[in-house]
Symmetry: D3
Subunit: 141 residues, 6 copies
């Protein structure tokens, strides 16, 4: 199912073709998943989204590629995004995530989800020591 | 504010004292935040929660301590848990997270949050290639 | 799949029949989706839910019908409700939403989802200028 | 803080006065919290919201009043609604919830939050045995 | 679909076998759902998760088993966890939940979800009377 | 409170100054809220975020500015982002949103939040008629 029809010949639009060509080059595969192919119905949104994903996830940076994927999975799990959980778990495995690392990732997500609920239930005040900004501390909340 | 009164003398309960003593030893600090001190109203829940947090976050394992904190932050942000975001960002900084690393973490959380919404809106079917379990693939969903 | 059996002859209950008749008249179609047909297992809940949906979404009001559907979609996407995203995107298209308008809607949902995560991560204090109620400003938070 | 100014003399509007009078009678207290007093800026929304809360929470029914409040808290915690968590925890305590019962409620919320994340991460298919509707089982998902 | 391959012979691992044996004994059924069978890929995570679910949900306690399942469902619905909603609704029905009780549960979840959104939109300050902890009240938030 | 220290002289960085100058020009005000001033700690993230917010929210497009703000509010409410709800409700009011329009917006958000929970609880299958993509319909889900 989908809320939007998959474009018939998306690459007949030169803006879409440019994004898809770049995606194939950066990711070194001809496979384009359903998310990107559907998003092609709006070339501007496709361009902006890919530019950001590429900048954050594909350009070499301080964090290693596998750590980045694990953080992406964590957010997607908490947001209940089925497609994103699937695609980024597959990406993490393609980047070498072992079963033992995946088990650790799940353990952290699980304990965080649990304490998130407990803190949300108790509504305890944030300790002043956690405040990183003295000026913000003086601001009436 | 809080939904539960902070226990007056929590460590008069030996089960609470044992948890707090262990926490001070493991974390090498006398500071106990408001979450743990409030949770002491139910010693069993306190014991189970600390046992899990200790096992997952404090025992040396495959993932390094800073990576674990960053994953914890990612879940807490997506779940909008103010206390948890504060306490684990402070913990990550205490473990050496630089501004540049924090900026990368935020960039990943931001782009994940964005594509989560887009995929949730488009409701695109999960590509068969992402299925890690052939048997599950044959199960009528 | 479903957690509740679809009632066999829902309209044999006169309260259900009254709701379904009204729904067909208001929406000018004989089609009743699975949500409403399943909800018929509890006639009181069906009545209250339809009364509210009808009042808010079907009665002419200040906001035009398409704008209302787009707001409904935005909430449903953020809440990850697959059924609601599907049914209200279809409704918006039936009310004339073009691909260009849909692309804009997705762009707003995406950027909002992104900045929501960033603000949730930074936990910045709300600026006093955003407070609409001077009395609330004086209340200890 | 608040996004909407508290009406100055809300009960000068007879629709608001009727709701507030009913609320005071049903709840047997003169206290009206900030949520209801602020909602008075839109008398129709106030009427519809109170009518539903009264029908579901205040009218005697199958589930006892304390159980209802605990379910309300559970939803509010999962949705991170600070005001609702506070007001309904206070209501549950006013209806006799003991510390031991509250500890159990938190334990259930915590373990549910945890397994929710794990199942969301694993994306396992729903077992056919959980399907309550044979017809739904035959529908292509 | 699933993000993780179902282990082929999970009970060849004695830790997994011990958990599954205990689960069959406690629940008095040979059926093990897909969640538990998949989680077996990480025996430690399986052990910790089952120990907690057993302690909270299966050991007799203050709250009756059906009330516990209804609270579990409430959290799982708010967190949009499809698998958990299915499995715990089935469990509640197995423990005797009638259609009338289920209708009440849904009514509470629905009205809570609604007022959660309204309070989140209005951002009204929490009334001081809801604060359970005088000390927390004096802490600058 | 805040998880990140507000930069002391953010505009001493020319990239930050360029963003802030553009923001003041586009929004025709010297006021810069705490979110943007804090985000300045990472100039690249600030640039990317502002570029997207400007493109989507400030550049004239098909949807009128007030409708855009209402959609932004809807997402932010559902995601429980306190800062975003405050800042965009203030922005909507600055763009002319009346109390009556705001009441309608809240009514839609409320009913959507309610039916989202009901559909999430019932887990009804999406009707085939809502599928916008015939090819997706043939894909095993």
């Amino acid at each position: 199912m989908s809320t939007q029809r998959l474009p018939d010949q998306p690459e007949s639009d030169p803006r879409v073709k440019a994004v898809f060509d770049d995606m194939r080059a950066v990711r070194q595969t001809d496979f384009l998943n359903s998310f990107w192919r559907t998003l092609a119905f709006d070339p501007g949104l496709l361009e902006r989204t890919w530019a950001e994903v590429k900048q954050v996830m594909a350009v070499p940076s301080l964090l290693d590629p596998l750590t980045k994927e694990m953080i992406y999975i964590a957010v997607s799990v908490a947001n209940s995004c089925s497609f994103c959980v699937h695609s980024h778990t597959a990406a993490a495995k393609a980047k070498g995530m072992t079963d033992a690392q995946y088990g650790e990732l799940l353990s952290i997500i699980a304990v965080a989800g649990k304490t998130n609920q407990l803190a949300s239930a108790l509504q305890v005040p944030v300790d002043a020591v956690f405040n990183a900004d003295p000026a913000a501390g003086r601001t009436p909340a």
